[in-house]
Structure formats: C-alpha cells, structure tokens
Amino acid sequence: MKTYDFNDNFFIKIDAENAIETKNVQVSYGKNQAIFDTSLNFPRFKIISLIGASGSGKSTYLRCLNRMNDKIATVDGKIMYRNVNINDPKTNVYEVRKHIGMVFQRPNPFAKSIRDNIQFALKENGIHDKSELEERLETSLQDAALWEEVKDELDSSALALSGGQQQRLCIARSIAMKPDILLLDEPASALDPISTSKIEDTVQLLSKNLTVIIVTHNMQQASRISDYTAFFHMGHVIEYNETRKIFTNPKIKATEDYISGDFG
C-alpha cells in the first residue's frame, strides 16, 4: 500500500457565489476521526462530485452538510449556508434539511403510494392547497424524468417501481421541497446503466436551478456530469479542482494514481 502525504494537496479558488461552504470541518465517530479539517466551497448551480476510495469519508462529509450526522457523530467547524453557520446547535435543523435535500445510495421510498411519497412532506410543511400539491407532484416528477413512466399509476405503491424508478422518485421527493442544494450519496451504484444514465440526465437538468453535490465511485460518472470534483483520501481532501482538470491533469500524485487505478 502506498502512502501519500496529506499536506501535499491542491485546492482551486472559485470566484463565484457559494451555495454552501465548510470551514475546518472535523468529524469523529467516538474516538475515531473520519474527517480532518476540511474546508471546501461549493458554487451555486454547479454539480460537484466527491470521489475517493471506500472509507475515505465522502459519505461522512456529505451528511454533515444537512446535519444528518447529528445523532451519529460529532461535527466541529463551520458550515456556512446563506451566511448562517448551520452547524451551530441552535440552528433549526429541520429548516436546514428542507433547503438542503438528500438522496441515499439505496432507494428508500416510503411504503405509500407514489403521490403520498411526494406529497407527504409537503403536507407536513403546511401545504394543503390541492392544486399546489398536484402541481408540485407533477413538476417534481417531471424534473426527475419520471412523470411519463408513472403518471397513470400515481396511486399505486411506490415499492412496485423498479430500482431506478424508485431512486428517481426519491429525487423527485427531495426536489418537490424546492431545495437549494441536493446531496446525492452514490445514487446510482445499485442501478443498471440505463437507469444510471437517466439519473445522470436528471441531475444535469436539475443543476439549472440548484446546486448538486454527488458522491460517486464511478469515475466516468464524475467526469461526465460534474463541474468540480473533490478527491478524498483517508479523511482528507487531497485535491479539489475543475472536473476536467482533475481527470486530465491531476495536480497531485495521489489523485492521479487513484484515477488511473494504480492506487492503494
């Protein structure tokens, strides 16, 4: 196993409005530190992918961004969203999650109808107007490229959908809340190439209106869809750069090795 110097790293400066930014974020599971001192900024309306070997901390980092680690880990540092440090315990975590949606590796629709899956959270958030509910249902499904496939069976169980459809439903469920930022943790790793490419299309479509941060194992995917890429290694971000540059001309040896498969 090769070892790399964590201080040998490269971070691009991005001169754009930030959707979200982390400052010196550290995450520990009990005594185990999983993320060391990570500062990254994510420009608005871009797609940023997080890559790195298994266990390098990508999911851990991603889950900090909407406070999904609250109960599981201790997160230090600042996470700035709209000039608010949302890592402050006083922040209303529920509001945070409404604006920063998340989709997980395994599709996790509720055991409800397709309609209810999408409208559930909306109703809980006080939207009771029928037409508004219906409109959100349709637009979110359309944005997730699922509308055509399910429009005739909105009231049947979401669990009857195929894996790829379920995953797109989960994306639709998230974007129905009109979030600013969408976090995706390996959304396509359990899916076949066709479903995968549909999800990639969806993501690219979405990035017109929101910021997408996506964890992926799939180099091709990262290079196909993302604008920026961050490479994680053992809890450290080693390189953060434009995707094109990372894949054609990585600045750091570790990144290069990883991408070429000559790593570890």
């Binding site: 209303n92 529920y94 809980e124 958030n125 006080g126």
Partner: protein, 295 residues
C-alpha cells in the same frame, strides 16, 4: 415553527409516559425489595420451610424453582428450536401454516389454571408421573413453547437471507447452515426469548399447584443418585417452587410469620431472576463473541 413545537410537546409527553412507567417500575420493585430484603438472612435461605411454626426458610423452594427452570428449558428449548426452524425455514405460506401458528399462539394465552388442570389429569393421573418436577416442567413447557418458538422464529428471520445463501451456495445442507451459521448469529435475540420465558417459569404458580405440587418433602442434597426418592435431583418428586410457596403462605398458611416469608420470598425471587438474567446475558455474550470472533 409549528412542527417544531409539536415535536417538543410530543417528546415531552413521551418523556412523561416513560417517567411514569419508570416510577411504577421503581415503585413496584422498590416495594417488593424494601419489604423483603430485611427479612432475608442466611438462615432464611438455607433452612426448610415450616408448616405452622415461625422461622421457616425457603431452601427447598429456591432450589426447586431453579431446578424446575432448568428442566423446563431442557424439555422446551429443543422443541422450540425445531419448531422455530420449521416456521422460519420450512413452512410454506399457506393455510396449514396459519393453523399451526394460530394453535401455537392459542397455547400462549391459555389461562394457567386450565393448563395446570390439563397437566394434572394427563400427566399426574393418566401418565402416572404423579405430582413431580417432571409434570411441572412439562406443564410449563406448554407455556414456554409458544413464547420461545415465536421468538426463535423471529430471531432467525432477522438474520439476513444473504447468510443463508452464503451457506447453501457452499454445498452445505440447509440444516447445517441454519444450525451452525444462522443460529449463532441469532443468539442474542434467542437469549432474550429464553430470559423472558424463564421469567414466566419463575413466576408461575397456578399451573404448578396441580402438577409439581404444593409440598416440598425433605430431600437430601448429598444424594446424587437421580433415581433415589430422597435425592434432590430426582425429577419424580413433588416440588413446591418459590412462587407456589408465596401463594401458599398467603392463602392457607397458619405460620405466624407468613407475611415475612411472603415478602422475603418475593424479594429473593426477584433477586434470583435478576441474577439469572444478568448471567444468562453475560454467558450468552461470551459465547456469541467466541463463535463470531467479535472482539
């Protein structure tokens, strides 16, 4: 803000409910222990019960409770494992299985008296087991089986199917896969079932009055010959358990210190159950860690 407030209120209510339950529990256990512990002495634990003079102990009853529990587990555990495996692995999803499940569960909700009388007529009289630990253990098996079977079935089902596939794809028989791979993994869950059902065995009185009997004839603790009538190990001797003893001193006993014996016995029973539960968990975890190589 509204959902957040609801969340606070709901959480508050849940905490209140939990607090109330904890208070009830502490009160109950405290009541039993505070009333009983001062009456526990070495003499109390190691001497024989008295029919109508004061100063009796609970030596035989205590031993009988534990012996009866062990015997009950020896009889019911293997049957429950077999039945649990059947339900988890072999049973098809059809009406026959439905009937089997229903009948098992009917067993668990039968009133103890009814099981006791059934045991009395069948075991004590028909099979000539007499009032004996064996009769008692079999009667308690009737209660134990549904609880244990259900629990074992659930614990087996909780082990991911992947594990079973791993086993059989290596050419192992289903039986081996279940007994050597699935059951070890399900051990913690199975243990909970054993502990719960043991609690019921310790606490059961009505079913035992008619089967294990309500007298504790003198036995010798040095006679290890299991077939000798006076041996403490003889399963064919009548055996009043602690719970039955508590029932008896409270109903028909003329001993002047009946209330002391009752309180002391209840406290001892609770302490014994606690010790049993703790040691079962401890030993179970040791075994579990050993076979799963976890640290």
């Amino acid at each position: 803000m509204h959902p957040k407030r609801t969340d606070k209120i709901a959480t508050g209510i849940i905490y209140c409910l939990v607090a109330m339950v904890i208070m009830i529990l502490i009160f109950l256990l405290g009541y039993i222990l505070i009333n009983g512990v001062p009456d526990i002495s070495w003499h109390f634990l190691t001497s024989q019960a008295q029919s109508f003079s004061a100063g009796g102990g609970i030596r035989d009853q205590l031993f009988n409770s534990i012996y009866l529990l062990i015997l009950t587990l020896i009889i019911s555990f293997p049957i429950a494992i077999g039945a649990g495996i059947y339900l988890a692995e072999y049973a098809k999803d059809n009406w026959i299985t439905d009937i089997i499940r229903t009948s098992i569960e009917v067993l668990s909700s039968l009133p103890s008296v009814v099981v006791g009388l059934f045991g009395y007529l069948l075991l004590v009289n028909q099979f000539h087991f007499g009032f004996s630990i064996l009769s008692g253990a079999i009667a308690l098996t009737f209660f134990n089986l549904p609880l244990l079977t259900r629990n074992i079935e659930e614990s087996l089902n909780a082990v991911p199917n992947l594990q079973k596939e791993a086993g059989i794809s290596l050419g192992l028989s289903e039986w081996k896969t279940i007994t050597k791979i699935i059951i070890p993994e399900a051990l913690p869950g199975i243990l909970t079932g054993v502990i719960l059902s043991s609690g019921r065995v310790f606490g059961e009185a009505a079913a035992l009055i008619y089967t294990a009997g309500q007298s504790a004839p003198e036995v010798s603790y040095t006679n290890w010959n299991i077939f000798s009538a006076s041996s403490f190990l003889n399963p064919m001797r009548p055996a009043e358990t602690l719970a039955v003893h508590i029932w008896k001193v409270n109903t028909e006993s003329v001993t002047p210190d009946a209330h002391i014996i009752s309180a002391g016995s209840s406290a001892v029973l609770i302490i014994v159950i606690l010790l049993f539960n703790l040691s079962a968990r401890f030993i179970g975890n040791r075994i579990y860690k050993k076979i799963t190589a976890a640290k």
